[in-house]
């Protein structure tokens, strides 16, 4: 489109990681026309991973997380105002402040938000936190600095594990309540999740798996304790709700696009789909909000909440909107890391639908190992715990859909043989 006769206007809805990398990619691809980035938060794009890590220890100030950017003064930022409605017929984006912005190309990158505690009254108690944005992290940091008696983490996904382990690093008592059989059992399965749980228990996290918080009790508007469904009470003055994320798609209601709380649907190229399954060639989506058919997984639709995916798909969508024909459908190998205290969990591929898991490096009981996931006899994912140097070789097995169980270079134990377990997804 840079070569087209008329100047096209581009709008990016959302001002996070995918938005930033998408806008940079448009400029790098030669698009020099008007570019406007709309974000509901009052901040330039910042990095979220530190928010559940060293922002909570106080080492990194929440406002130090602004992302490096190559965008120049030729980009208009509208911050602190949400996109509220998309009128595709009029090619107009409506904002909460009443503005209506015409567009020729639109990048949807509105990400996700933290799933709130189901009881809104309890969720508003002082001492109860969710963690998604910079302000959330600054508020939680202040609460941790006040040395609470005990921190209750509700939810044993990645963010819950990170927060609980950081509390231990700070010398705070921490209880983590998870309804599944182990930590991380939905994403990694209970075979691997059980070993990761053992690491955290070894460092003093009071782990309550297979338990559920029924209600949060307050006194004078402050959290004082939590009641589990089995009758147990946990005295805590801080609770962190880490129950996953909801995709920010409500503003697309009425747009005719195929969107729901699970994401906005895209085709294999990256254009968004309307309710009839037809692509809108003016609009692409990227990052946490986008749901797309992943070529590595037989075209099954996936919405990935990974930093590297926001970068890669943001760049892909930016180039697409700038008029660069993609060489192939978007299909970057999903990769993820999670720093839990000083333990590093990394993954490559998607564990979804895996029917077996094998430990190929290290000893799971020692807290350092690599596990490979198989599905119908092919490697589909690998997870490393404090063993990142083995991950690239395993990622290669996944990228090439190598036969499962793997043998050869990646595994350190062909002689002993590899034990194959059921992944045990909750």
């Amino acid at each position: 489109m840079a070569s087209g006769p008329t100047v096209e206007r581009v709008i990016v809805a959302g001002a996070g990681l995918a938005a930033l990398r998408g806008a940079e990619a448009m400029r790098e691809a030669g698009f020099s026309g008007p570019l406007t980035i709309v974000g509901d938060e009052p901040y330039r794009p910042y990095d979220r991973p530190p928010l559940s890590k060293h922002v909570l220890t106080g080492e990194t100030p929440a406002d130090a997380t602004t992302l490096p950017s190559s965008l120049g003064a030729d980009v208009a930022w509208i911050l602190g105002s949400a996109a509220t409605r998309l009128d595709r017929a009029a090619r107009t984006l409506h904002l909460a402040d009443g503005r209506a912005l015409p567009y020729d190309r639109l990048l949807i990158a509105t990400g996700t938000r933290a799933r709130p505690w189901p009881n809104p009254h309890e969720g508003r108690l002082s001492g109860v936190f969710t963690l998604r944005g910079r302000d959330d992290a600054a508020a939680l940091r202040a609460a941790l600095a006040a040395r609470p008696r005990r921190v209750l983490v509700i939810g044993g996904g990645f963010i819950g594990c990170e927060v609980a382990s950081l509390c231990r690093q700070l010398g705070l008592r921490a209880t983590l309540v998870e309804s599944g059989p182990t930590l991380l059992s939905r994403v990694l399965g209970s075979a691997v999740g059980g070993f990761i749980g053992a690491i955290h228990e070894g460092r003093g996290v009071d782990l309550r798996c297979g338990s559920e918080v029924e209600w949060l009790e307050g006194e004078d508007g402050r959290l004082v304790r939590a009641h589990l469904t089995d009758g147990t009470r946990i005295e805590a003055d801080v609770a962190v709700i880490a129950l996953g994320a909801l995709r920010n798609t409500e503003w697309l209601d009425g747009s005719g696009l195929s969107a729901d709380p699970g994401g906005v649907d895209c085709d294999a190229v990256g254009y968004v789909l309307d309710r009839d399954g037809q692509p809108d060639l003016r609009i692409a989506a990227a990052g946490d909000v986008a749901r797309f058919p992943h070529p590595l997984y037989g075209g099954r639709r996936a919405a990935l909440e990974h930093w590297s995916h926001a970068v890669a798909q943001g760049i892909h969508a930016g180039r697409l909107l700038a008029g660069v024909k993609p060489e192939a459908p978007y299909g970057a190998l999903p990769t993820f890391w999670s720093t839990q205290g000083d333990v590093v969990v990394k993954s490559a591929g998607l564990t979804t639908g895996a029917d077996a898991v094998a430990f190929t490096q290290g000893e799971p009981g020692s807290g350092r190992f690599v596990a490979v996931y198989g599905r119908e006899g092919r490697c589909v994912a690998a997870v490393s715990v404090d063993s990142a140097r083995w991950l690239p070789a395993h990622a290669e097995l996944v990228a090439t859909a190598a036969p499962f169980p793997p043998h050869g270079a990646a595994a350190d134990r062909p002689a002993r043989g590899i034990t194959i377990l059921a992944p045990g997804f909750a």
Binding site: R44, D47, P49, P50, K53, H54, G58, E59, T60, P61, D63, A64, T65, T66, L67, P68, S69, S70, W307, S308, V311, T335, F336, W337, T339, G341, D342, V343, V344, K346, R368, D386, A388, R389, P392
Partner: protein
């Protein structure tokens, strides 16, 4: 690591650093080049300062170049990103 008290750490324009921790293999070259801004905890957890002080500019540039997997991205308003 620079701290909150450092005037150049929170407010823009300053140095901005972001490491792709998927790429990072904890080789620790950055920690030797810029010890005030990068360190390894445990076996392989890289901890870094995303907003280093201006006085660390030369160290940060050395770290960026030293990283064997080019995982370190720096924006320096004095030089352009």
């Amino acid at each position: 690591m620079s701290t909150t008290a450092d005037a150049s750490s929170g407010s823009s324009p300053g140095l901005r650093v972001c490491v792709d921790l998927n790429l990072c293999q904890a080789y620790a070259q950055c920690c030797y080049a810029a010890p005030r801004s990068f360190r390894i905890e445990g076996h392989e957890a890289l901890i870094y300062d995303p907003a280093p002080a201006a006085r660390d500019r030369a160290d940060i540039e050395r770290a960026r170049v030293a990283c064997p997997v080019q995982a370190i991205r720096v924006e320096d308003p004095e030089r352009g990103a």
